[in-house]
């Protein structure tokens, strides 16, 4: 129920964000449900639809934030070795977490109206 949202005792959920190589493409995969791989949302850095994939991730993250407080946890596949993408994704996820934290407060206020 929405009356629980916005309260500091909102349930916390960690979402693993995995950097991996998939079919020769560098992908950052948001594992939205750890028990259901079909709900994974990939961002393919080598694809022209990267922008749209980011937007899709944003949409799902926002939807999740309605019910739970989320925190992204960056990880890479053990065999993944491209330093450029590793360092960039670390920075990116750190920035994204900060913005998620900022919006969480405002989201709670809005939903409690």
């Amino acid at each position: 129920m929405h009356f629980m949202r916005g309260k500091i005792y909102m349930r916390q959920e960690k979402i693993r964000v995995l950097l991996k190589e998939y079919k020769n493409h560098d992908c950052l995969v948001f594992e939205m449900d750890p028990d259901d791989r079909s709900k994974d949302l990939p961002i393919n850095f080598n694809s022209e639809s990267c922008q749209l994939e980011i937007k899709t991730v944003f949409s799902v993250l926002l939807e999740k934030m309605v019910d739970v407080s989320i925190q992204l946890e960056f990880q890479k596949e053990p065999q993944y070795s491209k330093v450029l993408y590793i360092d960039v994704c670390k920075e990116y996820i750190a920035d994204l977490n900060r913005e998620i934290g900022q919006i969480q407060v405002e989201l709670s206020k809005e939903l409690s109206r």
Partner: protein, 707 residues
């Protein structure tokens, strides 16, 4: 029409002058010179039947003579007062016998009779009573009350003052007053005081009828019974002039004689003279009643249901566009070029991210509050503070207002600083990054992933949509106005309902199509509940199309207006055809106007209702000097209101004829030929009662039923 109901023709008491005696010849001459048309012979404590007969003959046919007497009455406190008694001339002989009986063994000079005895003796003769009122010897208050109780029909009791001015004053305060000559010297009779009747009458019965109808029988200087000289027109090619009075005016005649057209033409003329007119047409009561329930005069004002228009919210929602996330490639570019320039690497500000913008709602609220304080200070200047507060308290008030203003200002400044420091910080970061990038051919780190702006934009959308939905949900107010009352049902009202769109709403309540409005609400709810959807723009486009289709720009489009008829307990009521007429007519008669024009108001109503509810209201309006013009076939309205003017329309030998008259004169005169007269009673009976035979046969049948 001059009337003299206190006239002496014989010296009776020793204190009276000889000049009180009059011969028939002198009587006739003086009555003619004075232009008196009705005179009552009221000698002290006696009535001379023979003299009465002689004098009556002497003045026929120009003047009526009524029999009467002025009696000394014994007061409750032992003193005497004078009572004038005037009798219906039809009972002159009976009256004469009664007077002789009363004074048989009395000394006419010194006697004083008991009031109860006098009234009981004379009442059978059809009498009117005129005590001296504020005129010596005057009736005491207690005896006046007693007289009214004995007489029962108080329209038969008049009061005679000492002079015309006193009469005028009391008449204008609704006392029944009449003054007579009380002639002492017949040589100077024509210089005496006389009353003038409001309406000409031709019999004792009509005088009593006039008195019963209208307490103010006599004219006074302040008499404002105004009339309007109107050109009436029953047909475009036919016009005639008629005086319409500030009282009841009735138009009657058979069907098809142009009564409705005459009424319409009178309406136009009165409006042209600047009178505020109210119309009622019995034939059109259904359409008129339906029009009463129309909502076109109701303003679609959302403040009636404590809602806001939300015009700004609608604008923002319909023009909403999504925010695009920061391209990931920008992060790649930044990382790839970050070490290209050592100087830039040391400028850590180029790695900074933007601060989230603070919400400005609080700032706007504080600013408004500061404005209120300033307005308060300005309006305080227009209050006479020194009248309500002493100097110390007045100074304290100024001090605290100033303190409040300063305190708000300080908070406002703090809020301003907070908001603008973030804004300036972000501005600085962006500008420095741009400058550094340009000068070093490098790319600074993106200030944000774009998620904050993306989400914030969605939240703002949700906020606006939620605001709109709050203001169009579950809001209803109503206003009640009295329509009238119905027997056994009590008061009936018209309820004007202001109600935001809901499940029970009907199409007629809205200027926009109800289907589109309902679909728009569904869109709004979807946008509010699923504000995070990737394809939210589709829903916004759908909403935008619906709003464009029906020109929806604010919550006022969702405000439904309706009117229903309800009973006292609030339940909706559907009046029958007849009840609609009753309610509508009562509603019209209650409206404030100068003139009321009614065409067959009796249609669809029972006679009992017309007589008990409608007729008294019409009479009341007449007494208030309102112009009431009624075209009717109903006897209760045409006859029992005792109209000031009756306009009778007849069709004879291929010609339409108009007659004017009233029940008091019992005459109707052809407006084109004064010699052509009809009897008011006969024509009324024929047109309104179906004829004399029908009228009396009904009377017989009713009386047979009683027996």
């Amino acid at each position: 029409m001059k009337i003299d109901l206190h006239c002496h023709t014989k010296k009776i008491k020793s204190g009276e002058l000889e000049t009180r005696n009059v011969t028939p010849i002198q009587f006739a001459r003086k009555i003619s010179e004075a232009d008196v048309e009705i005179v009552a012979i009221t000698n002290h404590n006696s009535f001379d039947l023979a003299q009465f007969t002689d004098l009556s003959d002497a003045v026929k046919p120009n003047c009526q003579v009524w029999p009467g007497v002025e009696i000394d009455i014994k007061s409750f406190n032992g003193k005497k007062w004078h009572l004038i008694i005037v009798c219906n001339p039809k009972y002159a002989t009976t009256f004469s016998s009664a007077i002789n009986d009363l004074f048989e063994s009395e000394n006419l000079e010194t006697c004083a009779l008991d009031l109860t005895t006098v009234v009981k003796k004379l009442n059978e003769c059809d009498i009117i009573y005129i005590p001296h009122f504020h005129k010596k010897p005057a009736i005491p208050e207690e005896d006046l009350d007693k007289l009214k109780k004995l007489v029962i029909d108080n329209s038969r009791v008049f009061n005679e003052p000492s002079d015309i001015r006193t009469m005028g004053v009391y008449t204008n305060h609704c006392f029944s007053m009449i003054i007579g000559s009380d002639v002492h010297n017949w040589n100077e009779y024509e210089t005496s005081n006389f009353s003038e009747l409001r309406l000409p009458i031709s019999s004792f019965e009509q005088f009593c009828m006039l008195a019963k109808r209208d307490q103010q029988v006599v004219k006074t200087l302040l008499d404002k019974k105004k009339s309007y000289y109107i050109t009436a027109s029953p047909h475009p090619s036919v016009r005639f002039n008629v005086n319409i009075y500030e009282d009841i005016n009735v138009i009657f005649g058979q069907k098809g004689t142009g009564k409705s057209e005459i009424l319409k033409s009178i309406n136009i003329e009165l409006k042209g003279r600047g009178l505020k007119c109210v119309e009622y047409c019995g034939n059109e009561k259904d359409e008129t009643f339906k029009a009463l329930l129309k909502t076109k005069d109701m303003k679609r004002d959302v403040s009636k249901v404590d809602s806001l228009l939300c015009e700004d919210e609608f604008k923002r929602v319909l023009n909403w566009t999504d925010k695009i996330p920061t391209l990931f490639s920008k992060y790649i570019n930044w990382y790839q070029t970050k070490d290209n320039n050592a100087n830039k690497s040391s400028m850590k500000i180029t790695n900074c991210v933007l601060e989230p913008q603070l919400n400005t709602d609080e700032y706007k609220t504080i600013k408004t509050e500061l404005k209120h304080i300033a307005e308060m200070k300005t309006s305080k200047r227009s209050i006479r503070i020194s009248k309500y507060l002493n100097e110390t308290d007045a100074l304290q008030l100024d001090k605290y207002l100033e303190l409040l203003a300063k305190s708000i200002q300080n908070v406002l400044i703090k809020e301003f600083v907070s908001i603008n420091s973030v804004r300036l910080t972000n501005f600085t970061i962006e500008r420095i990054k741009k400058a550094a990038d340009n000068n070093t051919d490098t790319v600074s780190k993106p200030s944000s992933t774009g998620f904050y702006d993306y989400a914030k934009n969605r939240l703002t959308l949700r906020h606006d949509v939620h605001e709109i939905l709050i203001n169009i949900s579950n809001k209803e107010q109503s206003e009640k106005s009295e329509l009238g009352s119905l027997e056994n049902k009590g008061n009936i009202y018209i309820k004007s309902i202001y109600r935001m769109l809901c499940d029970n709403s009907k199409t007629d309540e809205f200027a926009s199509g109800i289907r589109v409005l309902r679909e728009a609400v569904i869109c709004l709810k979807t946008i509010r509940d699923k504000f995070y959807l990737l394809d939210i723009s589709l829903h916004i486009n759908s909403l935008s199309e619906k709003c464009k289709e029906e020109s929806i720009k604010s919550t006022s489009a969702f405000l439904g207006l309706s009117r229903i008829v309800i009973e006292e307990n609030g339940d909706e009521y559907c009046p029958s055809n007849g009840e609609r007429g009753m309610l509508l007519l009562l509603h019209k008669l209650r409206m404030d106007a100068d003139a009321y024009l009614l065409d067959e108001p009796e249609l669809g109503m029972g006679n009992s209702y017309v007589d008990s509810q409608i007729r008294p209201k019409l009479s009341a309006l007449g007494k208030q000097h309102k112009v009431v013009v009624i075209a009717t076939h109903n006897a209760n309205i045409a006859v029992r209101t005792l109209p000031y003017v009756s306009i009778f329309r007849d069709y004879l030998s291929g010609k339409y004829i108009t007659y004017l008259g009233n029940p008091f004169k019992d005459k109707l005169v052809n407006i084109d030929d004064e010699s052509d007269t009809r009897n008011w009673t006969t024509e009324s009976m024929h047109t309104l009662e179906g004829g004399e035979d029908a009228f009396y046969e009904r009377k017989d049948i009713y009386e047979t039923g009683k027996n």
